[in-house]
């Protein structure tokens, strides 16, 4: 089964064709927590691989690499979105299906830009940070 419909795939191909720098999807597989009730019955790791390999097929600038239990991943499956193959601290833990697939695709497009897309005052605020911050955003697929 394709990961995207025809129209969506065409759009994603266009976005990926416009990437200013390559983006690697580094997929981390490992022991998975038992998901909550109501979650679809599927192999999340295998589905993550299928999803990321499928996205990598939509643009020359997007590649996919898979490792078992690499360091630095607290949960599995997960995918690190890496501009120029470098860890920029952008990660998706769990399978981004449904609406959340858009977050992964959007993350790839953002990582592929050569300039930040935040407002100048936002960039200035980030420059003022004097310590590291870890942002976790809990989401659910819809």
């Amino acid at each position: 089964m394709p990961i995207l419909g025809t129209e969506e795939e065409t759009k994603v191909r266009e976005w990926f064709a416009g990437l200013a720098r390559p983006v690697e999807l580094f997929v981390a597989l490992g022991p998975e927590e038992t998901p909550g009730a109501g979650t679809r019955d599927l192999d999340f790791g295998a589905e993550m691989v299928r999803l990321c390999e499928g996205l990598a097929e939509l643009g020359d600038g997007v590649t996919c690499r898979i490792e078992d239990e690499p360091d630095g991943f607290p949960r599995f499956p997960a995918v690190s979105i890496r501009p120029d193959g470098q860890d920029a601290g952008v990660r998706y833990d769990g399978l981004p299906w449904g609406y959340e697939l858009g977050s992964l695709v959007g993350g790839i497009v953002e990582a592929g830009r050569d300039q930040p897309t935040l407002r100048p005052d936002s960039l200035a605020a980030l420059e003022e940070l004097d310590r590291d911050l870890t942002l976790d955003v809990f989401v659910t697929p819809t």
């Binding site: 998975e32 927590e33 038992t34 998901p35 909550g36 109501g38 979650t39 999340f44 949960r75 997960a78 979105i81 501009p83 920029a88 601290g89 952008v90 990660r91 998706y92 833990d93 769990g94 399978l95 981004p96 959340e100 977050s103 959007g106 993350g107 953002e110 990582a111 830009r113 930040p116 897309t117 935040l118 407002r119 005052d121 936002s122 960039l123 605020a125 980030l126 420059e127 003022e128 940070l129 004097d130 310590r131 590291d132 911050l133 870890t134 942002l135 976790d136 955003v137 809990f138 989401v139 659910t140 697929p141």
Partner: protein
């Protein structure tokens, strides 16, 4: 979610992870995730819901 990713891409001081709440119910329960998006900064739940970029940055900086 994209706003968090943008912050991480723009600053070496920030890392951002989307966490699929249903797939990690234990962690979600520990952090009291009942509404999404729930934003957690350095392990502390900070706010629920999407906010515009200026407000997102204001809250992020306030949490630092």
């Amino acid at each position: 979610m994209l706003l968090a990713f943008r912050c991480a891409l723009a600053s070496e001081r920030v890392t951002a992870a989307a966490i699929e709440a249903n797939e990690f119910p234990q962690l979600s329960q520990e952090l009291g995730v009942w509404a999404v998006p729930r934003v957690v900064v350095d392990g502390e739940p900070r706010w629920d819901g999407s906010v515009p970029e200026p407000e997102f940055l204001r809250r992020l900086v306030a949490a630092a």
